[in-house]
Symmetry: C2
Amino acid sequence: MFFVKENGRTIPVADKVFALSGGAKAAIAKKGKDAVVNATVGALLDDNGDLVVMSSVTEAIRSLTPADYAEYAPITGTPAFKEAVVKALFGNYGPSGHVRLCVTPGGTGSLTSVIQNYSNYGDSVLTHDWCWANYKNIAISQGRKFKTFRFFNEDGVFDAEDLEKQLGELAAVQDQVVLLINTPAHNPTGYSLSLDDWDKMIAVLNRATCNVVLFLDIAYIDYAGEEDEVRAFIPKLDGLKDHVLTIFGYSASKTLTAYGMRLGAIVCMSKNEEVVEEFRRAAEYAARSTWSNCNRSAMVTMGKIYSDPELRAKVDEERKIYRDMLLERGRIFEKTLNDNGVKCVPFTAGFFVTIACDNPDEIGKKLEEQDIFCLALAKGIRVSIASVSKEKCVKCAEAIAALLK
Amino acid sequence: MFFVKENGRTIPVADKVFALSGGAKAAIAKKGKDAVVNATVGALLDDNGDLVVMSSVTEAIRSLTPADYAEYAPITGTPAFKEAVVKALFGNYGPSGHVRLCVTPGGTGSLTSVIQNYSNYGDSVLTHDWCWANYKNIAISQGRKFKTFRFFNEDGVFDAEDLEKQLGELAAVQDQVVLLINTPAHNPTGYSLSLDDWDKMIAVLNRATCNVVLFLDIAYIDYAGEEDEVRAFIPKLDGLKDHVLTIFGYSASKTLTAYGMRLGAIVCMSKNEEVVEEFRRAAEYAARSTWSNCNRSAMVTMGKIYSDPELRAKVDEERKIYRDMLLERGRIFEKTLNDNGVKCVPFTAGFFVTIACDNPDEIGKKLEEQDIFCLALAKGIRVSIASVSKEKCVKCAEAIAALLK
């Protein structure tokens, strides 16, 4: 390094996903898109490989005025946006406590905010061992350490015992732990915590001997299944004791399939109004001191959709079509894999499926030789079923099974 | 605090500017907008108090496609956006070295990026004592300390001696110093470093016994005066020795009067290509680990404007009208003040003028009693001439002079 200070970060020469997706694009240019499976893209594509754009969202965008683009938004977000997020997040399980929220640049911003505000420098942030690789980068970039618990035990069941063990180790040296849990439709496995898993996790957190900030990354909630079913865990949060604080990371970019808008929110819920007020102050301060306010036109779009029952119904209907498409891809991928004698990491729904293996880089290379592009993680292969058709899901699952058997 | 960890930050209960601007709005609601001077707003308003929106920018926005909103942008920005920033920033003083850049959420994001990547935890970031208050918040939020040099000496001249002294003190304990310089049209004073000031500063930096990362916050460059004149310092950067690295913070939101779009860039220039490549890697990593990519529709808008000579000419012409309006307000404000026997902190151009005084909070309160709303800083009163008409500039200057004489 000449001038750059790494500060404990490991800055790669090039991003792995970017290089891989470049390879897929080159193959498509050479052999045509039917011949290539590009299962690297973290966005929802239709069966032709085109980005899903909801016409109802486009309709809302078309109604924006010049001032909706020009004017600074309030740091925590426009009032209509905030109302929209509460509706979108809680659905029919309206919050049982006080709520405050702050707009963030996508889900990433909500992670930066919670780590900056709710952990001490040098403390460890805890999450499941299967996780979005960026969790670690975000924690390390804020000068925090990174610790994981085993997400699934040998029987493929949510490992509440290991969560308790790792949390206990941190409780011995920290007064508070930020715990990042990505559910439903976890990235990269697609797993959604069951209500039984939730009971176990809540019992563990209630027994913790330090404060716990339970950060629920629900970025994929609108693609995880039926609206009420995927939110059925919300009432269970009422069972958390006072030393546990619930904060949600919400991604409007995903809900509206408008990734380029960078629209997310960090949402705090507590029975104690002082706790949510403290959150509001801290979230506002962190925003102002890191990226300031967010994209106003995106907030206005979201506000319009959720305050207009007719438009909202159109968006919900349109999204349901794509969600069902995605759920069907997931079922077919998993069935093909199982029929060929291979199991994936526990999968429920969502953008990704992951298959554990000992030599992911090698498997990844062999798949590339067949023009199948998937991301090799440290302990397995991640397949973005969000970005390939049903037919290609079958092809991809068969190829992986053949290599792993 | 219940759960929030301050980590050396001082998180206020409410933002001062927000409370003040609330007071101004309440006064307007009661007494009508003609009776109130709201000189608190950090955006360009026309003489009627309406936000300046450039019709040429609106034209570019109207031509966006749904995919321009929906698709993720590359982390460092779209190619057309990057080309646009190089044109917009360097104008007729095209870069003399290698350049790399990364899109950021406004100017704030560029500050976060440079501090995260170019200083060590616990090191001090150096800037002028008159500065945007948020500089300190951004540095402290990244776990850095904050040090200032005296911007002007007793004669009201750029204080290169004190810069050298403070830099020397840091060089004794740090291997590298990030130096934040906001010019031209500095916030909050409106001062632009003269070419003579530049010579002095470059001599100081070249004599430094540690590395210096010279971060030039040029957010207001397009409102500071004639295009070539305000960029005439750029060739002087060639005189910097190898231990000094130049990084620019650019605000497209301001150039296009589209603040709500949150569009900025961090730009690195060096004769050494390895140095700018290292920058690219680090800027990309910091972005991905803090807010990820940025608002794509804003990038496409900027790209369209700067790749279409006709549209660009329209934008430039339209902006010139508003820039001239702003420059005229500044001249009249300063003249009125001087005619009434009071001097401001050295002022050249820009959104703000500042008047030093011993009791800013008291002066601010007395101005409020006259329905004149200005921000009280630690050492003076900041007047946003960007947000009030010529007539109100006169009224405001007279009122301040009357209180200070």
